[in-house]
Symmetry: C2
Subunit: 251 residues, 2 copies
DNA sequence: CGGGAGGTTGACCACCATCAACTGCTGTGG
DNA sequence: CCACAGCAGTTGATGGTGGTCAACCTCCCG
């Protein structure tokens, strides 16, 4: 039973960060006809240029959105984790302008856009919550433009880590103190406009300076204030979709 | 009389690209209580971190949105031209996460967010049009992430030019064949993550290769297909907010 | 006529890309 | 159980793209 509604819990938790929804509204969300599917790592969910008829909720695992330059260089423009609505924009823009791809294996819930529009029509506050989510998405893109366009390699990598950790914390996905990064160094490179080799060097640098350390395959953030400072990170651009790790205990 | 309604014409023209609005809906737009103000070049309209209570429509002139890195490096994340709603996101996200500043002198129309919300509540298709505009904004940010993160200097500068020309064409602001760029080379640099010096070199290169030429202070695009090819430009990401210059006559 | 902003050009150099080799995991099949 | 393949990570050597610094030019506009 818990399993059948886990994806609804996730979505409600996310929306609660954006808008206070009453029982009726929560029931409307719970009534959305999600179809759940387990998908393997690297599965392409949506391809640039294709027509999109469903919205996707990530229930388990990690995914990313990316575009390609003519040279073949891939640019990751967003990472997604459990609880994220990954393509709200397709509710109104029918053609995908980028690819959506799983990083790890996971579970995806899809809803017909018609159902999304219906619930938005009947419950304006739900519509507002989804709109806010999309606008915060845009704010994150702006920060990424600054990150790749205006910061040096070490800062870029640190910033990416900070955002990832802060969003994880907000969704309560896992203890932040010790986590395994789901993305490869090459993917971090594709997100920051660096090569995997240079990402590796920057991670080593940050680790040598004491921002985090490796414990087996886990990454342990040993000095959040320091990492945040190096990263030039200020969570304001996440507009409440993430608070910084406050649980100072582990740090 | 034409002057009093010019800003409404502009806005309706923009919205017509996004949604077919009937007479009643157009009348509702025309009824929005815009306050027009002439503003000088470089005027800051909105500052990062401030609370925003109005939405701004650019009626005349050019503006940009930008963020600052800790080092002081400024990153421009968007250029705006007449007809653009510059901060729809602030209708739902009350705190600005970036600055909004005039590039040239111009005219700005402001509407209280309450009035915007009211018209959106009463006319769902208007709400949808504004939402589409915000989503296209996000798509443009994604393209910019790719541009600064994944393309070399020449391509970046050319791409920025292409987007600017295509959007101008869509809004019918001026003949595209000959225009004066409103932004300085330093601003192009801040938008592309390059220095003004290097932007200068890239512009020279593009011009030497015949993509465009200078006539006095005007820039004349002499070979749009070539510029577009060099730029790795595909207008799909503008989702109909801009078609490419088709008037092959001048080229 | 003078001052200032923007544009132009050259010399030099640093950051990060590229190429290449090697290590260590992990899963898989003999 | 081992061998092997394959992917991710690691490290070093070298070079190029684009940054930095500095000088000078051009065009406005007061």
């Amino acid at each position: 039973m818990r399993d059948r509604t886990h994806h609804i819990d996730l979505l409600l938790r996310k929306l609660a960060l954006l808008e206070r929804l009453d029982d009726q509204e929560q029931a409307a969300i719970a009534g959305l006809p999600f179809e759940l599917e387990n998908v393997p790592a690297h599965r392409m969910l949506i391809r640039e240029g294709s027509q999109v008829t469903h919205c996707s909720l990530l229930v388990r695992g990690f995914a990313c959105r990316h575009k390609m330059a003519r040279t073949g260089k891939r640019q990751i423009v967003a990472f997604h984790m459990a609880g994220d609505m990954m393509d709200l924009q397709h509710a109104l823009l029918s053609r995908a302008d980028h690819n959506l791809q799983m990083i790890t294996d996971g579970t995806v819930g899809t809803v017909p856009i018609k159902a999304m529009k219906a619930v938005c029509r009947d419950f304006p506050r739900i519509a507002e919550a989804f709109a806010k989510d999309a606008l915060i998405d845009a704010s994150i893109f702006r920060e990424w433009v600054l990150n790749v366009g205006g910061r040096d390699a070490k800062t870029r990598v640190a910033h990416m880590l900070c955002e990832f950790v802060a969003r994880r914390e907000a969704m309560g996905i896992s203890p932040v103190e010790a986590m395994r990064l789901p993305m490869t160094q090459e993917q971090i490179g594709d997100a920051t406009g660096l090569t995997a080799v240079h990402v590796n060097r920057m991670l080593r640098l940050l680790s040598e300076e004491g921002a985090f350390r490796h414990e087996g395959r886990e990454l342990v953030i040993s000095d959040w204030p320091m990492l945040k400072a190096v990263a030039d990170f200020d969570a304001a651009y996440l507009h409440g979709l993430a608070h910084e790790p406050q649980s100072a205990n582990a740090f």
